[in-house]
């Protein structure tokens, strides 16, 4: 064992003993004490820098980039600007995607949706989000998010990994690396891809988004699928009931013990443990995915869609079940927010997919006492332009990618409910107050998980790599409870 893994192991032990046996099953603790080498298969930090507020994260990523001015960033003045050109003083020559850079003019498309001021916080919410209207006081809104990237691939990579170029670990992998597992029978970091009900312009996503990058491979997200096996190969072959599998694993274990006796390779012992873990996972995963035990009230809360595999509501409900069972980080992707055209034909469907489900998830977590320790994040990779791409009518318009401002929200996990943070100009084009660059968002999430983003590092290519990169970064303390 290298010095580094030995150190890690010591840290791991400290963590166990400090945090008590509820952190990891006592069986695993026993195994660790008995056979330190086998436990070195796990490489995680386990010790936080500040008191953690969130023990779990559910990150709802809206792939494509939701139009902030049609949902949360209310700009009533724009009604007077219908079909007028975006003033050059607002755009200031900023780069555009090549989809609209050749457009002869940039006519403003005011939102066609009605907004209402809601809750104690007085947050403006559009008519497509009736459920959100009921819970604005549970949520902290950031209307001043900013990214550097202007197209999907680099932008998604940036908000997930802190870098526009692929290959770095994502937020979920960092959380797994930092905090480790709460339930050895399930993956630490789970990814689900929800199917939108409207599939007009579904964007690409890639398994690279949940890779572990330069972190140890065990911190990569594990796909939890809503069709077929929930986890790949979790089910035994047809015609092999559990006792058959048990028989073969007993034989396998006995034979592997002989190999260990002959060769003394510690990895053999680790492998024996991994097979036992796999066997237990085979029991816990189907139980987790089986929604038959959910009462009718669950569906009243999340909406009936929650019973249909693959819907966003279904993944939201599964996210709660995952978190309940100790999964650290749940990443959900919901696609088709890339409204270059036909906002009117798509946005209502998109909002319907997520609105009640988000409400249900947050209320459900609250009822179960999990919201305080679970951070829920909602948002896309960038915003959209106030000017129309393609045709403009009062009834319909399209919007191009817009990196300079967009809206995200968070709830629970130590965030300050009822916050409205950041302001944009009247065109929802530039941030005029309290900008939140992505690195600040990342630093804030890490802070809630108990990590100082400057000290939460991993040595790679001789450098202490970190999620937030090298530019000056600030924790957005205004969002903290």
């Amino acid at each position: 064992m290298s010095l580094i893994s030995e150190l890690r192991q010591q840290v791991t032990r400290r963590y166990f003993f400090a945090a008590g046996s509820h952190v990891l099953g006592t069986a695993a603790l026993g195994a660790l004490a008995k056979d330190g080498l086998a436990a070195s298969a796990h490489q995680f930090v386990g010790r936080t820098h500040v008191a953690p507020k969130a023990r779990h994260v559910i990150y709802l990523h809206m792939v494509g980039g939701p139009p902030q001015m049609d949902m949360y960033d209310y700009k009533p003045v724009m009604q007077q600007w219908y079909d007028k050109d975006l003033p050059e003083s607002v755009r200031m020559g900023q780069r555009l995607t090549t989809m609209t850079s050749g457009q002869a003019r940039f006519p403003i498309a005011p939102s066609k949706y009605r907004f209402e001021r809601c809750g104690q916080s007085g947050m403006w919410v559009c008519e497509l989000l009736p459920w959100m209207k009921k819970m604005v006081d549970d949520v902290a809104f950031v209307r001043s998010m900013q990214t550097d990237a202007i197209n999907h691939e680099p932008a998604i990579s940036f908000i997930q990994t802190g870098n526009q170029i692929t290959g770095r670990p994502c937020l979920g992998a960092w959380a797994s690396y930092g905090l480790g597992s709460l339930n050895e029978d399930l993956p630490t970091f789970v990814v689900m891809v929800a199917k939108p009900s409207n599939t007009e312009q579904v964007q690409a996503i890639s398994a690279r988004l949940w890779s572990s990058g330069y972190l140890p491979g065990e911190h990569a997200g594990v796909s939890f699928r809503t069709a077929g096996d929930p986890i790949l190969y979790i089910n035994d072959p047809p015609g092999t009931p559990r006792e058959v599998r048990r028989t073969t694993l007993d034989g396998l274990r006995a034979l592997n013990e002989l190999t260990y006796r002959k060769l003394g390779d510690p990895q053999t012992h680790t492998r024996i443990q991994q097979y036992e873990l796999a066997f237990r996972m085979q029991a816990s995963v189907p139980e987790l995915a089986d929604l038959s035990s959910e009462p009718a009230s669950t569906y009243a809360l999340y909406g009936d869609d929650a019973g249909s595999p693959g819907t966003f509501a279904n993944t939201a409900l599964l996210a709660r079940r995952l978190v309940e069972r100790g999964v650290r980080f749940v990443q959900i992707y919901h696609n088709n927010w890339d409204t270059h055209s036909n906002v009117a034909g798509r946005l209502p469907d998109q909002c319907r997919d997520v609105d009640q489900a988000c409400y249900g998830l947050i209320q459900d977590l609250k009822q179960r006492g999990l919201l305080d320790s679970t951070l829920v994040i909602w948002g896309g990779e960038f915003g959209r332009t106030v000017y129309s791409q393609g045709g403009l009518s009062p009834q319909n318009y399209g919007r191009d990618h817009h990196p300079r401002c967009f809206t995200m929200w968070m709830a629970g996990g130590g965030t300050k409910a009822g916050t409205i943070y950041g302001e944009t100009d009247e065109f929802s084009y530039n941030v005029v107050k309290d900008p939140v660059p992505i690195r600040d968002f990342h630093a804030t999430v890490l802070h809630l998980l108990g990590f100082d983003h400057e000290r939460f590092t991993f040595k790679h290519q001789g450098l202490d790599q970190r999620l937030t990169g090298v530019l000056p970064t600030r924790i957005v303390s205004e969002l903290l409870a």
């Binding site: 006519p107 197209n151 790949l232 190969y233 991994q274 055209s341």
Partner: protein, 1036 residues
């Protein structure tokens, strides 16, 4: 684990004793990176450190560095407390003693050319089989360890077969070796393995990680890329034992070799394996910069073990590699003719056609024949101008009427009115419409004026284009597109509000095509051209649909030529009629053209034939020209008309053109049968690049020309400053890195870890070599042998070090926990591909076919679909059948955004970037693959079936049959008893649960032998499944 430190008596050595301390504690602030350097002090260079009196050689008391590291004053002490870096007392003593001894520096070890040292003397001479063993044994003896005994012959036979071919030995191979007890039996066994074609596959498989080989583009659509000819080339190169220097040159610059052969050009595909995009809206320069960066980083890492990536944004923190040097190195790769956008096509230029074996000779002839035929046509063309002038002087516009199809013409909108009214005809009936405010008149093609559309339709017609899916139709127009990637409908009758029902003539990203839609996207056809149209030029486009409800029935013509197209939807079955009107310039409510000029729109309620479609545009232009008085006819228009006349009306040119076209068709047919290879191609101008501030593509600094980093040997003046010169520079004898990095990577393949464990980082942040002298000796031996790869492997696998048993004793676990000293034989979990190939080979299912296109074996449904875009041609995973299910895993189709599912679990990389060291984890998800993946279950059943049929009736015979194939040995009595116990229990289950047995043996495409008892076969299947999951099977 680093080389032993100096004893008290020995002089300190900078690289071994001092440098690690300085670089860990000091150099990130006092080192090469000028941006983060503090107090303008460098401690990594002697002169700089002396100049600042930080180091006074021989006088630690006067050395400021020593004063500061010993200081207890928080404001002064170094390293500063805030860095959390602490020097131990021993480290402080080392620094003091080093300064006392004169503070001698050394360049970083890997930058000093390898030195040939006398192999060390050892106590136990009898253990030594070749020179490698002297270096290994000397270290073991120094550490007080004894090597392990030689492994059993069967174990060794299995190990070396896996290392040289990636497969377990067949029973025949095994028996032949085990029964050969004459001298040299092992060497002969090794030679046979080196000569087998599986050798090239196995070595090539490792190389594909370095080359980041995959079968898709990687970004966004992640469409198919036809790349496999490069993979075939790699396999062939290893099988021919191509010297590694030649291999290097052909990979990096095969295209630039004088008289490059087809194979050499294919080899240059190494630099075409990088990920690319075609995302709508992406900025070309941004991606062109990324591709160059990737090629630079990959080359630096693969051949030199340099992590050049740091230089993208800043001077390298630790290595003497500045940002400027990075961009100078990148200039070698910054001169390609490749466009930034891959076009979502399988053959993004530059590509070459690779004819089938039998076509090769004729294909080579054809180029010359076509050139001759072309010349004959050209001769006539030159001579024909006079005939044309006479014809044009006499001809009138009506003479071309025969060439203007009128049958079935439903709508004709010339869009050349130039006033406030637009005239058009519907079924021959003339109508007028007022000019919309969004439309302007600008210069046209066939007319002085044409409609310039900007976000609004020019014409709405309710009673034209009301076509169902079985109605053939054609739509044509002149268009002039702006230089952006916007999309929109030129002509459409389409209702977005009802699933986009209808049809259109469509343009996206300057590619033209059309939709026929019942409901988008699930019931529709969509076709667009592969090639982008030029911007700001008049182009005649025609879309012809034959009413077959198939994408193949939708043809696109550009300037009269049929275009290769991409099909992104082909699922139309239901009605396409809609009540919304036909519009020119948009769909019913959206997809408005912006900044596009349109003229001469014609809609036919029938499919035009090839000739009509080809001549429609020019004939219309010709009519316009002939209608003008002679003096107003522009020379450019006359040239276009001449070109058309020459093809269509000139009697003398016809046979010449027919002859040429027939040859062209023949060549096209051969090329259509051929595969393609992605190759490199230089632009004619000399290469250059720009230093980019923080690596951002739009923040250009100084312009730089190709150069290599100053820390490495100078670039000889006689070499060309291009990729070829760079490759030749890499393999020069004085280069300190190339040979070392190569032998280290090969060593890693065999021993599981390199002598330098960070095989991709030979810089100062990489690890030091465990056996520096051995590394140097191997590097020189490799180079001097003529870069002979097979010879190097033979040397490694015939060493005593390699032949040791993999027994881990307690003492060795304590003193050599990670086997860095090779106190025992190599044993580690096999790579993903080997795990699968092993199961297939042992079972007898494996196909040994070499090369060819990638295959799609078993994969659970939904893996691709979950991430892919609708419209991506690698969205639906269509599993292959038959032999393709059982090919070696290196041929499995590699989609970058969703790598082969079962292999990814075993740490197979995504192939997005070069990987020099794969991770090797040990997880429960891996257990699930080898227990449950149908591929493994079927293999278990197949081996079980063979055991029942081909060995005796007794349990013991059958088990022996299985063990020989899975373990290359016999089981002990104790092991046999355990398996027997499993079998009895399993058999009891399947005897009772007959249905379970039937279901289990039904797994996989190959048929189970129906004559066997299902219960027996099922029980044996699960026994083999148990054994296939043994730690011993999964480990080499």
């Amino acid at each position: 684990m680093v080389p032993a430190a100096a004893s008290e008596a020995q002089r300190l050595e900078y690289n071994r004793d001092v440098r690690p301390i300085l670089f860990d504690a000091c150099v990130s602030c006092h080192g090469p990176d000028s941006a983060s350097r503090k107090a303008d002090l460098r401690l990594d260079q002697r002169a700089a450190a002396m100049e600042m009196a930080a180091i006074v050689p021989g006088d630690p008391d006067s050395s400021e560095m020593i004063r500061r590291i010993l200081s207890t004053d928080e404001a002064e002490t170094m390293p500063p407390p805030a860095t959390k870096k602490v020097l131990t007392d021993r480290q402080k003593q080392t620094l003091i003693r080093w300064i006392e001894e004169g503070a001698e520096y050394q360049p970083h070890w890997s930058l000093i050319a390898p030195r040939l040292v006398e192999p060390p003397a050892v106590k136990d001479e009898t253990w030594v089989r070749n020179v490698i063993d002297r270096f290994i044994l000397a270290r073991l003896e120094a550490a007080g360890l004894e090597p392990a005994d030689e492994a059993d012959r069967g174990v060794l036979a299995r190990r070396v077969c896996l290392d040289l071919t990636g497969l377990p030995p067949t029973p025949e191979q095994l028996d032949a070796f085990l029964s050969d007890d004459t001298a040299g039996a092992y060497e002969r066994y090794v030679d046979a393995l080196l000569a087998s074609p599986q050798w090239g596959e196995h070595r090539g498989r490792y190389w594909l990680d370095a080359a980041r080989y995959a079968d898709t583009h990687g970004i966004h659509f992640d469409n198919y890329r036809e790349m496999w000819t490069y993979r075939d080339w790699v396999i062939k190169a290893f099988n021919r034992n191509m010297p590694f220097d030649q291999f290097t040159i052909e990979n990096l610059a095969g295209d630039l070799l004088p008289g490059a052969t087809l194979d050499q050009r294919i080899a240059s595909g190494f630099n075409r394996c990088n990920i690319t995009t075609n995302e709508g809206g992406a900025i070309d320069e941004e991606y062109a910069v990324l591709y160059t960066r990737d090629r630079t980083e990959t080359t630096a890492q693969v051949w030199m073990g340099l992590t050049a990536g740091c230089g993208v944004c800043h001077d390298h923190k630790f290595d003497s590699f500045s940002q400027r040097e990075f961009y100078a190195l990148s200039a070698f790769f910054n001169n390609t003719t490749q466009k930034a956008m891959d076009g979502n096509v399988k053959d993004t230029p530059p590509v070459i056609s690779v004819p089938q074996e039998g076509d090769l000779a004729r294909r080579l002839q054809l180029d010359a024949l076509i050139e001759e035929a072309e010349q004959a046509v050209e001769e006539r063309r030159r001579a024909a101008r006079g005939d044309f002038d006479r014809w044009v002087a006499a001809a009138s516009a009506s003479e071309l009427d025969a060439w203007m199809p009128s049958s079935g013409l439903q709508l004709h909108a010339p869009l050349n009115d130039g006033g406030s009214v637009i005239a058009y005809t519907v079924a021959g009936e003339r109508r007028e419409a007022p000019l919309a405010s969004t439309v302007q008149w600008r210069p046209g093609k066939a007319s002085p004026q044409a409609a310039y559309l900007n976000q609004g339709s020019v014409l709405d017609v309710a009673d034209a284009g009301d076509f169902g899916p079985e109605q053939p139709y054609s739509v044509a127009a002149w268009v002039k597109l702006p230089a952006n990637d916007s999309s929109g409908s030129i002509v459409a009758r389409m209702d977005e509000a009802h699933g986009f029902r209808g049809w259109d003539l469509w343009v996206e990203g300057r590619r033209v095509g059309g939709h026929l839609i019942h409901k988008w996207p699930e019931n529709a056809i969509k076709v667009v051209t592969q090639n982008q149209l030029p911007a700001d030029q008049w182009i005649h486009v025609a879309l012809v649909y034959d009413g077959t409800k198939k994408a193949a029935g939708l043809k696109v013509y550009v300037n009269g030529t049929p275009q290769p197209t991409n099909v992104s939807a082909d699922s139309l079955t239901a009605d396409t009629r809609t009540s919304v009107p036909l519009k020119i310039g948009q769909r019913h409510a959206s997809s408005l053209l912006s900044g596009v000029s349109v003229e001469g729109v014609r809609l036919f309620a029938r499919a035009l034939d090839d000739r009509e479609a080809a001549t429609l545009g020019t004939a219309a232009l010709g009519q316009a020209v002939l209608a003008l008085p002679a003096e107003q006819r522009s020379p450019a228009d006359l040239d276009v008309l001449f070109a058309w006349w020459f093809i269509n009306l000139d009697e003398l040119s016809r046979p010449l053109i027919a002859e040429r076209d027939s040859l062209l068709r023949e060549r096209n047919d051969i090329d259509a049968r051929a595969t393609i290879a992605h190759v490199m191609q230089e632009r004619p101008e000399p290469p250059k690049a720009f230093v980019l501030h923080r690596g951002e593509y739009n923040k250009r600094g100084e312009e730089v020309t190709p150069d290599t980093p100053a820390m490495l040997p100078p670039f000889p003046p006689e070499l060309p400053r291009n990729r070829l010169g760079l490759a030749q520079w890499l393999v020069r004898p004085e280069h300190p890195l190339t040979a070392r990095v190569a032998v280290n990577r090969f060593w890693q393949e065999v021993f599981g870890q390199g002598l330098v464990r960070t095989a991709g980082d030979f810089g100062v942040s990489g690890e030091l070599p465990s056996h520096p002298e051995l590394l140097d000796w191997l590097a020189i031996e490799f180079r001097e042998s003529g870069w002979d790869v097979k010879r190097l492997f033979k040397l490694m696998v015939t060493s005593a070090a390699y032949r040791q048993a993999a027994v881990v004793e307690a003492e060795k676990l304590a003193k050599d926990p990670e086997n860095r000293l090779l106190s025992r034989g190599p044993r580690f979990r096999m790579d993903a591909e080997m795990v699968r190939d092993y199961a297939l080979a042992a079972s007898g299912l494996l196909s040994r076919k070499i090369g060819g296109p990638s295959v799609k074996p078993y994969q659970p449904p939904g893996v691709w679909e979950a991430v892919a875009m609708i419209g991506s041609n690698t969205r639906d995973y269509r599993q292959d059948a038959g032999e393709s299910l059982y090919r070696r895993s290196m041929y499995t189709f590699w989609k970058r955004s969703a790598p082969p599912a079962s292999m990814e679990v075993f740490n197979a990389p995504s192939r997005e970037h070069c990987v020099m060291v794969r991770e090797r984890t040990n997880t429960p998800l891996q257990a699930l693959v080898t227990l449950n993946d149908p591929q493994f279950v079927e293999a278990a059943r197949h081996l079980a079936q063979r055991a029942i049929r081909e060995s005796g009736a007794e349990f013991d015979d059958r088990l022996r049959f299985v063990a020989k194939r899975l373990l290359a040995r016999e089981l002990s009595d104790e092991e046999q008893a355990i398996v027997r116990d499993s079998y009895d229990k399993l058999r009891r289950h399947y005897d009772i649960a007959a249905e379970d047995a039937v279901r289990l043996v039904d797994v996989g495409e190959s048929e189970a032998d129906a004559t066997l008892s299902a219960a027996e076969l099922a029980a044996w299947t699960m026994v083999v499944n148990e054994l296939m999951n043994l730690d011993e099977v999964l480990n080499k």
